[in-house]
């Protein structure tokens, strides 16, 4: 399940690490024998991950075919550039609702409801959805039904017929999410801390409101669909099929489309948070959710391999500085972790999270901040470097241990314009990371004075109060859900 993983990674400098640095790892670990070191580790079985076949059509559309005969299923997807960050602010929420209504509306030939009956009777699926930078349609069925399901998916891709009724349904779903968004402590914490980093009106954090979703019309859906369908589509198919037949079919379907039009590159400004302490009072919790955030980077940054190793040391798994210090040594939290984020085409966030009982909010925050600051003051050790690299490199093959993962990775790289051998060069770069690289990266990227601390918690229970952090005045963040501007913006009677 999606969760802030219980063992989330992100640990920063620990007192124990200081001792290790002074005394040296061997003195620290005075264990005479390490029985596990005597267990033979044979050479790994040879493995050549099966790459999908890539075909670039003359119009710029890219096809991937990944054959896998293990089970009698065929699945596929079309990835379409353009997502919620490209929506006009007054209509925030459009892409979410489009992602729902596209599928539930159906086509002129077959309504969404009829499609539900047709597909479910065959244990098949066609789904659509929207994300921050893309939308997608995907399908999946038993081999015997795959031609019919493919045709249906293509009908939906090229000839959707958006319905008023399904727009309303999508608005109701969206309205439910909006009115419930302040019930979930973690949800509040992640959402509001992202706003601190990117700004409230950033394309990356702009949130749907009852008023904005009320403004979205069927014409908006159609216009969005027509506009994005001209982009560089990435088509991926995997499963139990004959590759020549499938290639011919995909060519027939996509070759006739006009040359793809690329939308102009985005030029977003990323200022990072205004440093300080921010607070959201939530009366029905007994645990504070603390988010320490700043601006991260993108994967084109050549320092990313070093940052990945630094993240592993800070918060990667059970051995990391944060886990060791905050959870194991101080027992202040069950959930603690985080690190310096990197996204494919824009700066991600630096984010460290810790969840602790109300009364230890200040203690846990201070201890966590100390670990972050410690990246610059507690020297990285050879032992830490080795552990981090072992962790990452020895589990690296789980990025491509199934044919579907390999296909998904290739589609991702194609979408963001990265070379097909990115994983290999990335791995090679990880292997070369040195202590000096880590020290330099910490100096360059870790600036505790540029971070914001957001606490969501039960105000009266937090003792000592957040003033004890001594980071200046505590800014209260208002998360009141705005009432819709006009009655038309109130789907499903949300005014109540």
């Amino acid at each position: 399940m999606k969760r802030l993983t219980m063992r989330s990674a992100s640990g920063i400098l620990i007192a124990g690490t200081i001792v290790a640095a002074l005394a040296g790892p061997s003195a620290m670990r005075a264990q005479e024998s390490k029985p596990w070191d005597k267990i033979p580790i044979p050479k790994l079985h040879e493995f050549k991950p099966q790459q999908p076949k890539r075909i670039e059509l003359k119009n710029g559309i890219v096809l991937f075919l990944q054959v896998d005969h293990e089970l009698p299923f065929v699945s596929g997807s079309v990835l379409i550039p353009g997502g919620s960050r490209d929506v006009d602010p007054p209509k925030a929420g459009l892409v979410d609702m489009y992602g729902q209504a596209w599928r539930t509306s159906g086509t002129a030939k077959m309504s969404g409801d009829a499609m539900d009956d047709f597909l479910e009777a065959r244990a098949a699926h066609i789904e659509t959805g929207g994300d921050v930078d893309s939308t997608a349609i995907s399908w999946d069925s038993l081999k015997g039904d795959s031609n019919q399901v493919f045709d249906l998916a293509m009908d939906l891709l090229f000839h959707p017929k958006f319905s008023e009724e399904k727009l309303r349904l999508a608005q109701q779903q969206e309205a439910t999410a909006i009115v419930r968004r302040n019930d979930d402590e973690e949800g509040i914490a992640i959402r509001e801390s992202a706003k601190l980093v990117y700004g409230t009106n950033s394309p990356y954090t702009r949130q749907p409101e009852l008023a904005t979703i009320g403004r979205v019309t069927l014409a908006d859906f159609q216009a969005w669909h027509d506009r994005t369908l001209h982009g560089k589509l990435i088509v991926g198919v995997s499963g139990d099929f004959d590759p020549a037949t499938m290639e011919a079919k995909l060519r027939t379907t996509f070759e006739g489309l006009p040359p793809v039009r690329t939308e102009p590159a985005r030029h977003d400004a990323f200022a990072g948070p205004k440093p300080g302490v921010y607070f959201i009072d939530k009366e029905d919790v007994n645990q504070s959710n603390i988010q320490i955030v700043g601006l991260g980077t993108d994967r084109r940054n050549p320092d990313v391999p070093t940052l990945a190793v630094m993240n592993e040391i800070l918060g990667g798994g059970f051995g990391s500085r944060l886990f060791q210090k905050i959870r194991t040594e101080k027992a202040l939290a069950y959930g603690v972790g985080g690190g310096y984020g990197f996204a494919y085409d824009h700066p991600a966030t630096f984010r460290v999270v810790v969840m602790t009982k109300s009364v230890s909010t200040v203690d846990a925050t201070k201890a966590t901040l100390a670990e972050i600051a410690g990246l610059n003051t507690t020297p990285f050790t050879e032992a830490e470097l080795k552990r981090a690299k072992d962790d990452i490199l020895n589990s690296f093959l789980f990025r491509y241990d199934t044919k579907d993962k390999i296909l998904a990775e290739r589609e991702r790289l194609e979408f963001y314009g990265y070379p097909a051998d990115y994983l290999e060069t990335y791995k090679a770069a990880l292997e070369k990371v040195t202590l000096a690289d880590l020290t330099a990266a910490a100096r360059k990227y870790i600036h505790p004075d540029k971070l914001a601390v957001l606490v969501v918690g039960n105000g009266p229970e937090i003792k000592p109060g957040l003033n004890a952090l001594e980071m200046g005045p505590v800014h209260a963040v208002d998360i009141t859900i705005p009432k819709p501007g006009h009655p038309a913006g109130v789907p499903g009677g949300a005014e109540k």
């Binding site: 009777a121 439910t176 069950y334 109540k496």
Partner: protein
């Protein structure tokens, strides 16, 4: 390390039971192909090993399935099974320690100090605050002394440095599962680590870990509206059986569990007969089996411990819980149903599928699409466990402006239809087809397969039941569905729980102590 999730927002919860299928020929074919890939061996200590060779990539996944969970926690010690599961990550006498002989002595002193402190703390009369403070200091000092010998997290660090992926465990009411994936050349290392922690657990850093688990409780239950609601819902639905008890543990109990209690739980339940270990991936049984036998033979021998014998008495009065607070409304209700061993188990699955699975399901079509009163509505079962008689539950998330009462009424209407009118042929066929496809889809995932094989081996004594159960699925009839619906979906067998949203002002008054 986690308590099994309660949230129905996470639909994966029920998917684990790869129930049902309607395919005779294919069932035969897949069963045969799996019989060739799978090797099973029961060791002299009672532990069952299952190896499934699936060489798609040079990796393997394992599940260690222990047939003991929080339902087995002794009275007054709720949360114990989960607490022990956390301990199983702390290492053994050979890993995680600088000097085990000395550490063992120090740990005994921690236990003595805790006992002394607790005895004073729990005195009903005449507790001496000064003495209590001294005893607490002594307790902390004993822990600090023991800590000197600890190499924190060495067990998991060694696993992760050797490529362990998704290291985790889950404690449910029925059972406890440990799992991760690894490169295939670490099989022997894994067998050393896993057999070590099963047989040679050390109550290391126990009292700090207890604080960590308390934080887990605050996160999952106390600070989460649905977590709070479900805890009250189950506590109300059951009057005798442990399914009604907080699985993560009531605060006063889990905060007082001792290492001695955790080790006693281990001694009783972590015996060969109670454990199945399944390994799936690039693992050749010919070479692997002798290695696994050698390591897992270390687990103490023992037959399955006696199962708890409390039987929930028949419910004869409808019960309800209303939580009035500022969070958004929610509705859930449940009806007692038999355990997974009931001959009607597949009938319950059919009802769940027809009522809840996808946009064609009755609850979605009725509450979400047609009436437009809910954002989500589903039925699910068995909950909160499957080993003992359990609940068939329904929930709905009201749209803005709609109430739990409307959810309740709409759900009851749909239930009534099940009782009075046969489901359609198409609906029944859909259930059987989807069950088949879901089973097949699950076969391509090492971890999912390891979980399923271990679970079916434990629950039915034979992993083949994963395929054979489809016969029962195939036999479900429309009459079965009506019969079962009429049996259990009656008011006197119902418990409901809801959140009624309270205006902020009223709630402020409550804070003032009106309660």
């Amino acid at each position: 390390m986690q308590q099994r999730a309660f949230s129905w927002f996470l639909k994966g919860f029920l998917v684990l039971m790869l129930t049902a299928t309607a395919f005779a020929a294919e069932q035969e074919q897949y069963l045969k192909s799996f019989e060739q890939k799978i090797t099973t061996k029961v060791l002299p200590n009672g532990l069952t090993l299952i190896i499934c060779d699936r060489p798609e990539a040079p990796v393997f996944s394992f599940t260690t399935f222990v047939d003991a969970g929080d339902v087995d926690d002794p009275s007054g010690e709720s949360g114990l099974a989960h607490m022990f599961e956390h301990l199983a990550f702390k290492g053994t006498s050979q890993i995680g320690t600088k000097d085990y002989a000395a550490e063992k002595v120090a740990l005994a002193k921690v236990e003595a100090a805790n006992n002394a402190y607790e005895a004073e703390y729990l005195k009903p009369v005449g507790r001496d605050p000064k003495k209590l403070e001294e005893l607490h200091k002594a307790f902390l000092a004993a822990q600090a002394e023991a800590q000197k010998y600890v190499i924190p997290n060495q067990f998991t660090e060694v696993a992760e440095q050797n490529g362990a992926h998704h290291v985790n465990a889950e404690t449910g009411l029925d059972d406890t599962q440990y799992f991760w994936s690894m490169p295939e050349n670490r099989l022997e290392l894994w067998a050393w680590l896993e057999s070590g922690r099963l047989s040679d657990t050390v109550p290391r850093e126990f009292y700090k870990e207890r604080d960590v688990v308390m934080e887990e409780r605050r996160m999952r239950t106390d600070s989460n509206p649905i977590g709070r609601l479900v805890e009250q819902f189950l506590a109300t639905a059951y009057v005798a059986h442990n399914y009604g008890r907080s699985a993560v543990g009531w605060p006063s109990e889990v905060s007082q569990i001792t290492a001695t209690e955790a080790m006693a739980f281990h001694k009783k339940y972590y015996v060969g007969g109670d454990i199945v270990v399944a390994v799936v991936g690039d693992v050749d049984a010919k070479t692997a089996l002798p290695i696994l036998e050698r390591y897992f033979s270390k687990v103490p021998a023992g037959p399955k411990p006696e199962e708890m014998t409390t039987v929930e008495p028949k419910q004869f009065a409808e019960k309800s819980v209303i939580i009035r607070e500022q969070t958004q409304p929610f509705y859930i209700e449940g009806y007692h149903r038999p355990s997974y061993r009931s001959p009607d188990d597949a009938v319950y699955d059919a009802i769940q599928d027809i009522m809840s699975n996808g946009r064609v399901s009755r609850l979605y079509r009725s509450l979400v699409e047609q009436q437009q009163i809910a954002a989500e509505a589903e039925g699910f079962s068995p909950f909160p466990g499957e080993k003992y008689p359990s609940l068939f539950a329904f929930y709905a998330v009201p749209l803005p402006g709609h109430t739990p009462a409307e959810m309740r009424e709409a759900i009851h209407k749909e239930i009534e239809k099940l009782k009075t009118t046969d489901v359609t042929d198409a609906e029944l066929q859909m259930y059987k087809t989807r069950a088949r496809a879901d089973l097949l889809r699950g076969l391509a995932d090492n971890q999912g397969l390891a979980n399923a094989l271990a679970e079916y081996q434990t629950r039915y004594g034979d992993w083949r039941e994963l395929f054979l159960q489809l016969d029962r699925v195939d036999k479900v009839t429309k009459a079965d569905i009506r019969r079962v619906a009429n049996q259990i979906f009656v008011a006197s067998n119902r418990t409901s729980a809801e959140i009624d949203t309270e205006a902020p002002a009223a709630s402020a008054k409550k804070d003032g102590g009106a309660e």
